[in-house]
Symmetry: C2
Subunit: 217 residues, 2 copies
């Protein structure tokens, strides 16, 4: 069983890094093969562009969707896209580990979705949502927040609830390509939590990942 981890934090001593390490240990202990895509360390390019394709359609007018469709038949993608697609193709469970910035994934994670989940690989015009090309795989969002649950609830009339905040990614990305969405794990405000509370969150996260690994077998 394969579990790639799409991981986005600069700092190896961060709480996001600790969560990533907890997930890797929990999955490996359960016999899974884990590969971490450490986006910042690898300098992952966030911005989609013409340079993502090694063979262009010849259209004078650059349209990203058009080029994606053209590249699909021959997988004419640059190496970082190919590598990520190979990991996704082999995945049984795909984890995303990132801090919520502006009530959404950081640009580097959004860019991963923009560039890696191409038309013809993850979906087609006919194969999306329940019938998406990545059907049968599971996806899990593992996120940290700056705000406490109380602060988030107080602002939810403007920003939406946590379910609504995650929906563009969980529904609009993971479900769009056919994945089954595992319950997310949200570590609330670890930056202002006590060491004991941080340790408890990591233990709860380990159990959360173990349960998902069991369900995905």
């Amino acid at each position: 069983m394969n579990a790639p981890v799409v991981y986005a934090h600069h700092e190896s001593r961060s709480f996001n890094a600790a969560m990533k390490d907890v997930a890797v240990r929990a999955l490996e202990a359960a016999g899974w093969t884990v590969r971490v895509s450490d986006l910042y360390a690898e300098g992952f390019k966030a911005n989609a562009g013409p340079e993502d394709y090694t063979r262009r359609s010849g259209s004078e007018r650059f349209g990203y969707l058009h080029e994606m469709k053209h590249a699909a038949a021959t997988r004419a993608y640059v190496p970082d896209i190919l590598r990520e697609q190979d990991r996704v193709a082999a995945a049984d469970l795909l984890l995303f580990q990132f801090p919520l910035w502006w009530y959404a994934a950081p640009a580097i994670v959004k860019g991963w979705a923009d560039r890696v989940l191409t038309d013809g690989f993850a979906y087609t015009d006919e194969r999306l949502f329940a019938n998406g090309l990545l059907k049968g795989k599971r996806g899990m969002l593992c996120v940290t927040t700056g705000a406490t649950p109380e602060e988030l609830a107080a602002d939810s009339d403007v920003t939406g609830t946590m379910d609504e905040i995650l929906r563009p990614f969980s529904g609009g990305v993971l479900q769009y390509v056919g994945m089954t969405v595992e319950p997310p794990f949200i570590a609330y405000a670890p930056g202002s939590a006590s060491p004991a509370a941080r340790s408890d969150m990591l233990k709860a996260f380990a159990r959360h990942v173990e349960a998902a690994a069991t369900r995905a077998r």
Copy 2:
């Protein structure tokens, strides 16, 4: 009156480019000063990182929020952030022109928010939402979709309604920093529309921008 336009499309012959041109003409005709930040043409960096600060806090452990707070007092930001902040600071109305990808802004626009709207410039712990540092300014989302309204409605139980799709940006970014959110303009599926329908959308968009320019006076 100043209206910066944060513009994100590769192709000068795209519908997004046509919308951007329509907005510029409508605003200039109304006597406004317009500056377009053409993110792709300028190679705008989407990924936030330690290199965004010209003077670091000295903390061994890199935390983006921590560095933002530290840099605020001396504006120790790299030139592209400074330039965008200067444009935002001078703005009466701020337009964002982009195609919706994965029910959200493309990575390059998300990266603009991640990097430009720094703690101490756009908000502080005490000054956010109704009291945000950019209070008094107006923001407008101008977006294109790949899907038709009917297709979007059919999938809205999974992806959310258009209001909900835009909320992380309109509520979680623009309102967070204190801006008044203008009604968005959504051009549905221009890529599959007839030339006449595209032309009608552009005319409706011109009227939409003119109305916002009048309100913002």
